[in-house]
C-alpha cells in the first residue's frame, strides 16, 4: 500500500520537473541581482532590488523550538522583508509538507521528518555553493563526523538524509553534494532529567529509569517516535535487549522493548507520561517525578523555578536530534532569492546566538560566538564555569556564577551521541505497539 502511494507521488513529481527547470533558469538570472543586493545590504545603499524585496513575505512553519517571535522581528530589521511563522507539532509539519506544499515557503523540520517527506518532491534542495558559511557548518551535517575520529551514531543521522543527488532527485546522496535537502540550523543531545535533591545519589545509566527505587516516580515522553528511542536506550543499558540498530528496530526488537516497558507500567513504575513541554516541567518541578526523559530547555525552566534539576549525562550516551530549513518546491524568483538571503542570514550568527543561549546548538557555532558574550560562549559551548549570572535571551536568570553546563562542552556532549531520532521501516507497527503500551 505504501509503495502504491509513492509511485503516485512520483508521477505527480515528473510533472513538476519542467516547472522546476524554469525556476532554476530564472534563479540563475537573478543570482547576479542577489549578489548586488547583498552588497547593497552591507554597504547600506538603497538599491532597487532591496526596495523590491521589502514586499516579500516568506511563510515558514515548524516545531515550537525554533519558532520564536524575535526571529521575524530581526529579519525585518536586518533584511527588510517579512517572515510569518507558524508553530506546529512534528506530525503536522510532515503532513503539511506532503499535502499542502503551497501553504508554505520554508519548512523548519527535523531530519527524521525529511526522511519521510523528501520522496514526495515538495521540497527543493538548497544550492550549497550559495551558502556563505558552509565551511563553518559542523561535520555532523557534512560527512557525519563531529571530529575526524568520531564514530557515527545509530538512527537517522542528519548527513544520511542531508544531501540530494541532484536538484531534481528524490533520493538521498550517500556523500556530500552541492544540494542540501535541509540547511541545518539547530540540534541538541537529549538525555534523562533528574531531581538530585530527591534522588540523593549519582545516576549514571539509562537503566535507572526502570530502577524499582524510583517506582511511581518515573516518567517517559508519550511521543512514540522519540519515546521508543528512550525506551531502547533503557533496555539496552539494562542488558535486556540487544539491538542491531536502535534507529531501525525489527518487529521482534520492538516487541521485546515494549514488553519490558509494559511490565514496568503494570508494576507502577511510572507516575505519568507527558506529551508537552509544560507537562514535563510541571511533573519535575512538583516533585511528582524524579527521573524522566526531558528536553534541555525544560531543565532550565525547572531550575529557573528554583528547583534543582540536572540534565544527567549517562554512560551509554545521548539521544540526539537535528533540524533545518527546507525550501518549498513552489519558491521561485524574488521569493526564492529572499529565502536564500534569509537562510544565509540564519546561519550568520544572530539566530545561532539566540538558540545557543537557550541550550541548543547552532549548525555553524563559530558564527554565533559574535552574538554571545565570552562568558556565555564559555558556559554554553565550552563547558566552562560561568563567570557571572547566565541569562536566557528572554531575560530570565538561568544560572549563577560558577555553574557548569550539565554534560560539559559541545564536543563532550555531541561527541557521545548514541542514537539519532529516526523513522523506522516498521514505523506503523511500532506506533501500534506504543499505543498498546500506553493503553495497557
Amino acid at each position: 500500500m505504501k509503495e502504491k502511494d509513492i509511485s503516485t507521488d512520483l508521477s505527480k513529481d515528473t510533472q513538476n520537473e519542467s516547472e522546476t527547470d524554469q525556476g532554476r533558469r530564472k534563479f540563475l538570472k537573478t543570482t547576479a541581482a542577489v549578489a548586488t543586493g547583498a552588497a547593497a545590504m552591507t554597504g547600506g545603499f538603497p538599491m532597487i532590488w532591496a526596495q523590491n524585496i521589502k514586499n516579500v513575505t516568506l511563510r515558514q512553519f515548524g516545531t515550537g523550538v525554533s519558532n520564536i517571535n524575535a526571529i521575524p522581528e530581526q529579519v525585518k530589521k536586518d533584511l527588510g522583508f517579512n517572515l510569518e511563522m507558524t508553530a506546529l507539532d512534528t506530525d503536522t509539519t510532515a503532513q503539511r509538507v506532503v499535502t499542502q506544499p503551497k501553504s508554505f515557503d520554508i519548512a523548519d523540520i527535523e531530519y527524521f521528518t525529511v526522511k519521510k517527506v523528501w520522496g514526495a518532491g515538495n521540497l527543493q534542495p538548497f544550492d550549497v555553493s550559495r551558502l556563505k558559511n558552509y565551511d563553518k557548518i559542523v561535520g555532523i551535517f557534512k560527512n557525519g563526523k563531529l571530529t575526524p575520529s568520531s564514530n557515527i551514531a545509530q538512527g537517522t543521522a542528519p548527513h544520511t538524509v542531508g544531501f540530494a543527488e541532484s536538484p531534481t532527485s528524490k533520493a538521498f546522496a550517500t556523500e556530500e553534494t552541492n544540494w542540501y535537502t535541509l540547511v541545518p540550523t539547530i540540534y541538541n543531545a537529549d538525555t534523562l532529567g533528574i531531581r538530585p535533591d530527591l534522588i540523593k545519589r549519582p545516576i549514571g545509566s539509562w537503566s535507572e529509569l526502570l530502577n524499582s527505587e524510583f517506582k511511581g516516580k518515573a516518567s517517559i515522553l508519550n511521543i512514540s517516535s522519540i519515546g521508543i528511542m528512550d525506551a531502547a536506550m533503557v533496555c539496552e543499558a539494562m542488558g535486556a535487549v540487544q539491538y542491531g540498530d536502535k534507529g531501525n528496530m525489527t518487529k521482534e526488537e520492538i516487541d521485546k522493548t515494549m514488553a519490558i516497558f509494559t511490565e514496568a507500567k503494570k508494576d507502577g513504575q511510572f507516575r505519568a507520561f507527558w506529551k508537552t513541554f509544560d507537562e514535563s516541567v510541571n511533573l519535575m518541578a512538583s516533585g511528582e517525578v524524579v527521573i524522566q526523559s526531558m528536553w534541555s530547555p525544560a531543565i532550565t525552566k525547572v531550575r529557573s523555578m528554583g528547583m534543582p534539576c540536572i540534565y544527567q549525562p549517562l554512560k551509554e550516551g545521548y539521544r540526539s536530534w537535528g533540524g533545518g530549513l527546507g525550501l518549498s518546491r513552489n519558491l521561485s524568483g524574488l521569493e526564492l532569492d529572499a529565502a536564500y538571503e534569509y537562510i544565509n542570514w540564519y546561519l550568520s550568527g544572530w539566530v545561532g546566538g539566540l538558540l545557543m543561549r537557550q541550550g541548543y546548538y547552532s549548525a555553524a557555532p563559530e558564527t554565533s560566538k559574535l552574538f554571545m558574550s565570552d562568558d556565555e560562549w564559555g558556559y554554553w559551548f565550552e563547558g566552562k564555569p560561568a563567570q557571572s549570572d547566565i541569562i536566557d535571551p528572554f531575560g530570565s536568570k538561568l544560572e549563577s556564577a560558577g555553574a557548569v553546563r550539565d554534560g560539559g562542552s559541545f564536543y563532550e556532549r555531541m561527541g557521545s551521541v548514541a542514537c539519532w531520532n529516526s523513522v523506522m521501516d516498521e514505523n506503523r507497527y511500532m506506533v501500534r505497539k506504543w499505543n498498546e503500551f500506553i493503553a495497557s
Partner: protein, 278 residues
Amino acid sequence: MTRYLQITPLLLVLILFFIGPIIVIGVVSFWDYNAFSLIPDFVLTNYEELFSSGVTYTIYLKTLKFTLVTWLVTFLVGFTVAYFLAFHVQSLTWQMALFLICTIPFLTSNIIRMIAWIPVLGRHGLVNETLLGMGLIDKPLEWLLYSDFAVVLAFVHLYTLFMVVPIFNTMMRIDKSIIEAAYDAGANGWQTLIYVVLPLCKSGIAIGSIFVITLVMGDFVTIQTMSGGQSASVGVAMNNKRALLQYPAAAADAVVLLITVLIIVAVLMRFVNIRKEL
C-alpha cells in the same frame, strides 16, 4: 408551505453541521491511508484492525467502567442536590439563588477546573500535606493523582451539574399535593422518595444520564490529564490516531463509539419517553 419554509433554516444548519459531518466520518472510515495521505477506497481494514486488537476491548471496558462509576456518583450527588433545592428550600428566591451558585464553577473553562485538581491532589499537594500535617498518614497517598480515582473525581466535578439541572427541573414540576397525598396515605419519607418522587423524576434522570454518559464516553482530555497519560479510553485512542494522521482509523473508532453510545441512549429511551415528558 410556510411551515416547511420556517423549518428550512434549522434543517439546513443541521444538515450542514451535524448530519453532513457524520456522513463524512462514516465514509472516511472505509478509506485507506498511508503515512501522509488518505486514499479514497472501500476497505474494511480499519474495522478489522479495530476489532482484532485486544486493546480495543480493554479500552472499551475501561471507558464503560469510567462511565458507570461517574454516572452512579453524579446521579447520587445530583439527585441529592436537586432534592435539597426543590423540596427543602422553601422560598423561590433562595432556590434560584442556590441554583445559580451551583453554576458558578462553570464560569471558567472545564480544562481549568480539571487542572486545578493537580496541585490539590499531588504528592506534595494540599490534601497530602494536610493529612501528613495532621499525622493521619506517614507518607503521601500516591493514588490521589494520576490514577483512576483522579479521573472519576474530575468527571464528577465537571459533570454533576448536568445531572442537577434536569432532575431539579422535573422535581420543580411535581405537584406538591401528590407528596401530601403520599403522606396522607401513610407513606413515610423514604417510601415517598422511592415510590413517588423517584418515578416522577425519571425523565430528568434520563436526560441527565444521557448528558453524563455521552460526555464521559467521548472524553479524552480529562482522562489524559488526570491519569497522567497512563489510562486510555476510546477517546484517547481516537485522538492518538488523529494525531498520527490515521484519520480513517480514527473515523472507524468514531463510528463504533457513536453506535455504542446510541445503543445506550436507545436503552435509556426504552425506560422514559422523553418527548412526552418535556
